[in-house]
């Protein structure tokens, strides 16, 4: 009789063990799915309102990128072909709500991908979690890039390349198509911190770090984002609005309005650090 009971006990033990395993997060992963509401209390001017012209402060840009910004003319985005240009994935975190959902292989229940939908321009991106390699260098680059992810404990770390040219800031500071972006998605209960680290060998002196915070939205919905280009200004064929070097008088407005020295307003890695602020104070410069 005892002999006959052994399989029953073994089955029960297996069932308990399986139940316990099923309730545990696999490989430390946590669920990021849902609608997340963007919190705009950090870097607000850089986000909804839009940055001021000539405000490059605190960005580790190099001299060529500074010239890109100095010669940029906001009229560029009146060209029909630029009107619906989407935010690249490394800038999309700055903007509006997002939806995250997971894609599993039905049979193995292995996580294949994590998808993101941004309200802004209704862009969607895929973060591949199945270990696939990145495409060859000669493959298409896109605004969202090609992303692969892995779990570092409870943090989702994502590497993105194959990006189209984008921007560090929406006032003409270009981010090149050679950039590689590392992101960290960190969930704390109903909060989500999204850290973006941009490495751009063409236009940065040092990596650019940004963080954005989101709050889980129980009843969150994301509206459509239609965009249709129209001819806003009749121009001769092929005209590209831009300022010739040294002629952009708008650059001074930001400096004058806030009492910021030109050297600080023009950015560069040095302007990121507290020592630089102390140096300015030492020189008697007081922001307005």
């Amino acid at each position: 009789m005892k002999y006959l009971q052994r399989p029953k006990i073994a089955h029960r033990l297996l069932l308990i063990a399986a139940t316990a395993l099923l309730c545990m997060p696999a490989f430390g992963q946590i669920n990021l799915s849902g609608v997340w509401q963007n919190q705009l209390d950090e870097d607000f001017p850089d986000r909804l309102a839009g940055p001021e012209l000539g405000d490059f402060a605190g960005l580790p840009i190099n001299a060529p990128d500074r010239l890109r910004g100095e010669t940029w003319d906001a009229s560029l985005i009146t060209l029909p072909e630029y009107q619906c240009r989407v935010h690249p994935s490394d800038y999309a975190s700055a903007f509006a709500d997002i939806r995250i959902w997971e894609e599993y292989d039905r049979d193995s229940q292995n996580l294949v991908a994590i998808h993101l939908h941004h309200f802004a321009w209704a862009t969607e991106r895929t973060i591949w979690m199945d270990g696939r390699p990145h495409p060859p260098e000669y493959a298409l680059h896109t605004a969202m890039g090609f992303s692969t992810g892995k779990w570092d404990g409870d943090i989702l770390t994502v590497t993105t390349d194959h990006l189209k040219e984008g921007w560090f800031r929406r006032n003409g500071l270009a981010r090149s198509d050679r950039a590689v972006v590392t992101e960290h998605f960190i969930r704390h209960d109903n909060g989500l911190t999204w850290v973006t680290v941009v490495n751009d060998p063409a236009y940065l002196e040092e990596p650019l770090f940004r963080s954005r915070d989101y709050v889980f939205s129980v009843a969150g919905q994301i509206a459509p984002y239609p965009c249709e280009s129209v001819e806003e200004i009749i121009r001769p064929r092929g005209v590209i609005p831009h300022h010739l070097p040294g002629t952009n008088t708008f650059l001074k407005e930001y400096q004058d309005r806030h009492g910021i020295p030109a050297d600080a307003a023009m950015g560069g890695a040095k302007t990121m650090y507290p020592e630089y602020r102390a140096k300015l104070k030492g020189a008697g410069v007081q922001p307005k």
Binding site: L67, V86, W121, P136, Y138, H141, D177, A202, C227, I240
Partner: protein
Amino acid sequence: MRMTQIILATLAAAGLAFAQAPARAGAAPQNFDNVEIHTLPAQGSVYMLVGSGGNITVQAGKDGVLIVDTEYAALADKILAAIKKISDEPLRYIINTHYHPDHTNGNERLRKAGATIAGGNVAGDLGAEASAGAQIIAHVNVLDRMSAPTGQQASAPQGAWPTDTFIGNEKKLWFNNEGVEIIHIANAHTDGDSIVYFRKSDVISTGDLFVTTTYPIIDVAAGGTINGYIEGLNRIIDLIVPVYGQEGGTLVIPGHGRLCDLGDVLNYREMVTIIRDRVQDMIKKGMTLEQVKAAKPTFDYDPLYGSSTFWTTDRFVEAVYKTLTPKK
């Protein structure tokens, strides 16, 4: 070797042909032993082959194979092997986007491996010769650049010359159940440039009228001009219909570099137009070429396009300056 390095090295080698023109296109300028031909499906019936010279575009179907440009003769076997993996049908057409050897040096070998569509009276009168070799289509100025009057040295062997030329702005072809438009752009990269638009697959093969690896290469001695080049970019943009914003829809295979779509061409057009405008302004102010070079009108784009050892920034600025300066 990284693909970018291969492309830059190839551009450097190929460019010598027109820098020291007339150079024979038949000479292989580098060791191709380790070069691999990579195949990337673009969309529809169109593929991109990436090797060491200019990109090759392949369109394949029941009628056979059509290719745009031929890279180097030394790579012909590898190119044919790559094409064979796409289709077993014969190579029927070669279209040359311009005459430079990094795009035409493989003409003779690849043509011989192909077969012209022939039949009926033509085949009856000429026999096997009627279908010998694929046809090579190009603007007539390509033939002029590759050939030479009797008694003079041609820049390419006769077997590499175009066999079917056109003189207008466009030649149309129906092949593999799709319309193929060969559109001539005057005085851009050279004086014989064409872009090839596969209408059903929705892919444009641009030749060197658009590249992602260097500043625009303007062969001034062969009739290239900066304004023609910008017009070429605008024509390409006119043809593109994106899915949304600046992405998807029509795909673009550049002469060198990666597969692209509208956003990439817009960025490139923006850069070229801005630099043209800067140099034009400097010329209006009476600046000499040396003064223009010293003013660095390309400074902000040099990290992206200024690393070529062949088509240096100085050479690009010189070409822009020369073709914008009114002839005295």
